[in-house]
Symmetry: C2
């Protein structure tokens, strides 16, 4: 693993959703004051603001915009729905370009009751339709496989192997993969698939948090690093063994943490980042 | 798929946990009266009764004892815990023999925070330690891979591929695999791994229910067949394409259904079995 001095937060990035009670202006100012290197912007935190202006403000604070979250969700019950998803993804790419985000994080999507094979085909078709738009904008797309617990309604892409297959099939420097430990930690092929992802030049981003045991709510009870059972250092080691030296992004959805003082929470994130990642 | 007349429940088996409010005597009498062919006994429903006597009573009702659920849970934080698990599994095998159950369903086990690789090694060691006991008793062991959402605390064996690997490594006619659609429906390799399981002679049992979308509780909100998003007929087709002609076992944990009239629920199960499986 890359050596990490005890007070070096230059590779630490936090997702705006992690500190959801803060506006994006508060998040940018507070992350910068804490010495963080990057910020990943969730679309909901743009909330009507001009992306270009938000991007300028973030950079003026001294932070790097790491990515815009999230596009994708290509499957739909009918062709109109799928076309609307493609148009929406082009808007997300335009927003990322204006914001100055080099990467859009994509979630595949799924329609409850629609066969997963159908959703997977619709995801491939959707990606194919938007990739030229991303290439023209100079924005990269990163597909994030989601935990199989979300296969019913959020993503039919549930393993790193599937994401790697997609990345290799597209073979574009603008298309790659987002590795999130929450979704992938259980996979017996994780080490091999991370190596494969890195070797192919497809490892675009690395997201961390922890899996609490027990987990109270399958969507909104993610843990802080060290609070759960994910072997974070081991997985980070596999990621960095591929040569990855990008940001380590903290993405935590937690009703519990959102209720707490966000300054104290940000300090906890920094401590946990140093101690457990 | 094997043809299934509209009133043929000879291959339908229900797990006693599915109708948890009923005692095992009530379950056996009511399943038999409804024309079911089989019953799978959960250990909790034995509750101090002599297994041999329960087995006689079930057979006197005209039902077949399909399996005893469940053993396994081999990983533990220390050697004493692992040895205790091995002894407990030998007792489960003895109970199955007395009950006249030809199969014990095993869940691998996991210790929160212990690396999954360590739990997997402990599962292999535990299986190796108890398999001779099962062979001597003439009882088969079937490992049931659990959904990755249970990897933290219930099982480090989360895919059919892992279960098949174990079955092939042991190479015993007394060791095989239990396919449960709830745990495996999301897997992009499911069709191929079911075929592999069948070809190896390792497909010992087939469990059904449905995955509700949304799911309210990750353990106790399983759906009745047809209520969710699992392509049950497709998966049953893959299972039967291997030559499997054993019981189709309904295993539903549901606080919602347990609160309802169990006679009405059993009729719903029979209707759903005919209509959706």
């Amino acid at each position: 693993m890359i050596a990490q001095p005890f007070d070096d937060f230059s590779r630490l990035c936090v997702h705006t959703i992690t500190t959801r009670p803060w506006s994006i202006e508060e998040a940018a100012a507070n992350y910068a004051a804490a010495g963080l290197g990057g910020i990943t912007v969730w679309r909901e935190s743009l909330d009507g603001r001009a992306p270009a202006e938000v991007g300028r403000r973030i950079r003026a604070e001294g932070l790097e915009v790491v990515s815009l979250v999230r596009g994708g969700f290509f499957p739909a019950a009918d062709g109109n729905g799928r076309q609307a998803a493609i148009e929406e993804n082009k808007r997300v790419i335009d927003e990322a370009e204006a914001l100055g985000a080099p990467l859009v994080v994509l979630v595949g999507g799924a329609v409850p009751g629609q066969p997963l094979e159908a959703s997977r085909a619709q995801i491939r078709d959707g990606l194919e339709a938007v990739l030229p738009h991303a290439e023209a904008a100079g924005v990269r797309l990163g597909i994030e496989p989601l935990h199989p617990v979300y296969a019913d309604s959020r993503s039919a892409i549930n393993t790193l192997e599937q994401a790697n297959d997609l990345a290799e099939a597209f073979g574009s420097p603008h298309f790659g993969v987002v590795v999130d430990v929450y979704h992938l930690w259980w996979d017996p092929h994780l080490e091999a698939e991370i190596a494969r992802c890195g070797q192919g030049g497809h490892l675009f981003a690395f997201h961390i948090c922890d899996w609490k045991s027990p987990t109270e709510h399958i969507l909104l009870d993610r843990g802080l690093m060290g609070e759960g059972c994910i072997p974070l250092r081991q997985i980070r080691g596999w990621v960095e063994d591929t040569g990855f030296d990008g940001f380590v992004e903290v993405e935590i959805f937690s009703e519990r943490y959102w209720k707490q003082d966000q300054h104290a929470f940000l300090r906890q994130i920094q401590d946990a980042y140093l101690e457990h990642s």
